[in-house]
C-alpha cells in the first residue's frame, strides 16, 4: 500500500479446504460467479475474459481481464482493467496443515493513473457512474 510508484492491495485468508478445491473455486466459471462476479473465464494463459457486475449509470459494470499466469493448484494471475485503471490480480495458494492459505494481491495502481482522465468526458462520466455505485453501496 505504501510503494509510491505502484500501489498494491494484499488480502490473505486461510481456508479449511485443500488447495485442489480452492483452485476449482478460483478457476471454474460457475463457481467464480458464486463468489466474485458473472464471467466467461477460461483457464487458458493469454485468454481474455470479462467479469460483469450489474451496470450502474454511466458504467457498464464490465471489467476486462486476461489470464496472465496459470500454475495449477498454486498460482493464478489475471489483468483487471476498468475505468482506466489497469492492474493485475494474483492468487497464490499454499498448502497448510489445516487446508490452504490464499494470498491475493492486486498491483499496478499508479498514482499518475488515478488523475489521468484521458478524454475528459468519458473519464468524468465513467467516474461519476462509479461514484454513484460506491455511494449507493456504502449507504
Amino acid at each position: 500500500m505504501t510503494n509510491p510508484d505502484t500501489r498494491s492491495v494484499i488480502v490473505e485468508k486461510d481456508f479449511p479446504h485443500p488447495p485442489e478445491k480452492v483452485w476449482r473455486a478460483l478457476t471454474e466459471s460457475s463457481l467464480i460467479e458464486q463468489w466474485l462476479m458473472k464471467n466467461d473465464f477460461q483457464l487458458v494463459a493469454g485468454r481474455a475474459f470479462q467479469l460483469r457486475m450489474d451496470p450502474v449509470p454511466n458504467w457498464n459494470g464490465v471489467i476486462d481481464c486476461q489470464v496472465v499466469t496459470v500454475d495449477p493448484g498454486k498460482t493464478l494471475a489475471y489483468t483487471w482493467g476498468t475505468l482506466g485503471l489497469e492492474s493485475v490480480v494474483t492468487f497464490t495458494l499454499t498448502r497448510t496443515d489445516a487446508g490452504t492459505h490464499v494470498h491475493m494481491e492486486q498491483t499496478g495502481f499508479r498514482p499518475d493513473q488515478e488523475a489521468a482522465y484521458k478524454g475528459a468526458n468519458y473519464g468524468w462520466q465513467a467516474f461519476l457512474g462509479k461514484l454513484e455505485h460506491v455511494l449507493t453501496s456504502v449507504e
Partner: protein, 107 residues
C-alpha cells in the same frame, strides 16, 4: 476535523450537490445564475451547495465583474479515487464469499 476524503464523500452524497458538480464537470465554467436555471432549486440554495462543494475543494470560483464563475476541480476527487482504488475491503468481502462457496462444494 474531517479529512479530505470525508469532505468529498459528504459533499457528493447530496443529490443536488452531486448534480451541480456533474454539471460543472461536464460544462466547465458556469455562473451561479446559469447553474440555478437548471438546478431545480432556488439561487440561495445553489449558493449554499456551492459553498459546501467549495469547502470540500471540489469546485473553484473566480469573480468576473458582479458574477462569480464556478468550475470543477477534478484533482479534488483524488481521495475518492484512492478509496475506490483501495480494493482491500472489496477483496476481503469476496474471499469471505469464497469461503462460503467452498463450504457448499462439499455438499
Amino acid at each position: 476535523m474531517p479529512n479530505a476524503a470525508d469532505r468529498v464523500f459528504k459533499a457528493l452524497a447530496d443529490p443536488t450537490r452531486r448534480a451541480l458538480f456533474e454539471r460543472l464537470a461536464r460544462d466547465g465554467d458556469l455562473t451561479v445564475h446559469a447553474l440555478t436555471a437548471s438546478a431545480g432549486v432556488s439561487q440561495p440554495m445553489v449558493s449554499k451547495h456551492l459553498s459546501a462543494l467549495k469547502r470540500a475543494r471540489l469546485v473553484r470560483h473566480r469573480r468576473n465583474g458582479r458574477e462569480t464563475h464556478y468550475s470543477a476541480r477534478q484533482e479534488a476527487l483524488a481521495p475518492l479515487v484512492d478509496w475506490i482504488g483501495d480494493y482491500g475491503a472489496f477483496w476481503q468481502n469476496k474471499l469471505d464469499l469464497l469461503g462460503d462457496v467452498l463450504e457448499r462444494m462439499d455438499k
